[in-house]
């Protein structure tokens, strides 16, 4: 259950975060563990053609991670497994110490309240206003309207859309729509942000702007997984880079001058 039963004025200034239901397998030391652990994860959509083949990956709290790889390498699958749109065939995915694959269907919404997801096609309700698109994240949590107004205002300000709450989402430009999607993802202050090709529909300058937005979010302590195959973005920032290839994840250091650090900067893209 979300823990928002006793909101008061003090809560407005306090960061809040919906909790996963603890369940019988809850481990109290979960907070000290990595936020995400993939353990020998297999996933296939067709027999004999697995997308992920025994993938192992650890992501620590507060990391900003680029996930890249060629089309069909499993970037989107990896993210879909995380927000439980898909389930693993084998292996475990531990999110904050809990195995996502073992979650019952009625626990999935509570998992998703801890994850903000951003898509290439924005997934906004075009007939809703900007405010409504962002506020829905908090309405789901049952927060009072007064608090929702304040939080949404803050989120829109963070993404550079202050004062645009009453605009219809459908009339915004692509960059603005993506900013609304980002605001919707961050307004609930989730532990993890998943971005699935969020700049795929934007021109290069807008793409860099949006990336900057994600970095600002990351600076506030949120873990960000940013899936992209846009090489230019990877070159812009020095971040941990995970390349998906042949169903496995490989850590590739990049964005740092090879001469300086001695890394091989060649990507298998």
């Amino acid at each position: 259950m979300p823990r928002f039963d006793d909101q008061d004025d003090a809560q407005e200034s306090r960061p809040f975060r919906p909790l996963l239901r603890q369940g019988p397998r809850f481990a109290r030391d979960a907070a000290a563990r990595p936020i995400l652990m993939f353990e020998d994860v297999y996933k296939s959509y067709r027999p004999g053609a697995p997308v992920l083949r025994g993938m192992n990956l650890v992501i620590e709290r507060g990391e900003f991670v680029f996930i890249t790889g060629p089309s069909g390498s499993g970037k989107s699958t990896l993210l879909r497994l995380l927000y439980r749109s898909e389930t693993v065939d084998e292996g475990r995915i531990l999110f904050m110490g809990r195995d996502i694959a073992r979650l019952k269907d009625d626990s999935v919404p509570f998992l998703r309240r801890n994850i903000g997801v951003i898509f290439q096609d924005f997934k906004l309700v075009k007939t809703w206003s900007v405010f409504e698109n962002v506020a829905i994240t908090l309405e789901v949590l049952g927060l009072p309207q007064r608090l929702i107004k304040a939080r949404v205002g803050e989120a829109l300000e963070r993404v550079g859309l202050a004062g645009r709450g009453s605009d219809a989402a459908g009339v915004l430009s692509g960059g603005e729509q993506q900013r609304v999607a980002v605001a919707r993802a961050i307004v609930g202050e989730p532990a993890l942000i998943l971005a699935d090709e969020p700049t795929g529909n934007l021109d290069p300058q807008l793409a860099i702007d949006i990336l900057g937005l994600f970095e600002e979010i990351h600076e506030s302590g949120t873990t960000v997984l940013f899936a992209t195959h846009d090489r230019s973005l990877l070159d812009v920032r020095s971040r941990r880079l995970i390349v998906l290839d042949e169903g496995k994840a490989m850590d590739v250091a990049m964005g740092i001058a090879p001469a300086e650090e001695g890394y091989d900067n060649e990507l298998p893209l």
């Binding site: 009625d106 919404p109 007939t127 829905i136 789901v140």
Partner: protein
Amino acid sequence: MLSIGTTRRAQRGMLREWRLHALSVFSLAVAFVCLGAALLVVTNLRAVEDRWAHAGRVSVYLKDSISTPDVEALKSALTATAGVKSVRYISSGQARQDFAQTEKKNLAGLSQEAFPSSIEVEVQPDMADAELTEMVTKLEKLPGVDEIETYQAWTDRLARLVRGGVAASGILALVVFASVLAVVGSTIRLALQRRRTEVEVLKLVGATDRFIKGPFLVEGSAQGAMGAMGALALLATLFFLVKGRLDGELSSLIGVEPSFLPWPIALGMVGVGAVLGALAALLGLRRLVAV
């Protein structure tokens, strides 16, 4: 539980898809008009039946040969009978005169036998049927009595008519139930399809199925209730229009003032519409968009 947020989201959905919902409400109103009309007829027939079942009158038609002392003896005996309120003798001539005055017609062509003398007995309205039957049986055995009219046959015919009306209403109710399920179910499935992105977004931000379904249930319920209310409004308009035109003729003919559907039945129709609408929406939402 129905929250303000759910109601607000339902209202928002209905306003945005108002054409779809208006069409659905209109279709339901047509179905409910049929049911409401049948119930209206049954209600009034039942009132007429009740009125005549407790008519409190017995007409004792006398033979032409009966003597005046026998008539007086019969009157005295009836007056002394328990449950009898009043006794009035109407001679053949008076009956002819009364009828001529009421109908304003020349009755010269009619024979004397057409208007037999009679004793009109007014009984207490709460007189038991068994007591009345016993009194009638005794009267029939008297030599001066030709025929007795208790209006029971008329009441029996009305009762049969009411039973037929109730059966017809039952069948119409089933038709209405089926149409509510079909119309609301289809509307909600269509609305769900049109709001596919909205449902996807809700699921992505962690909405439970209950949270997602809530507004659709409210919408289905509102459609059912509004359909029933629309039907009642239409029926009421027609009813009072017709009643006004007849100007009391109908009530003098059937003996009771025609009345519209009683409040409990009208509210029941709206309640049934609301419940059925919610049920239909629930059935239409069995398979939500998978995200």
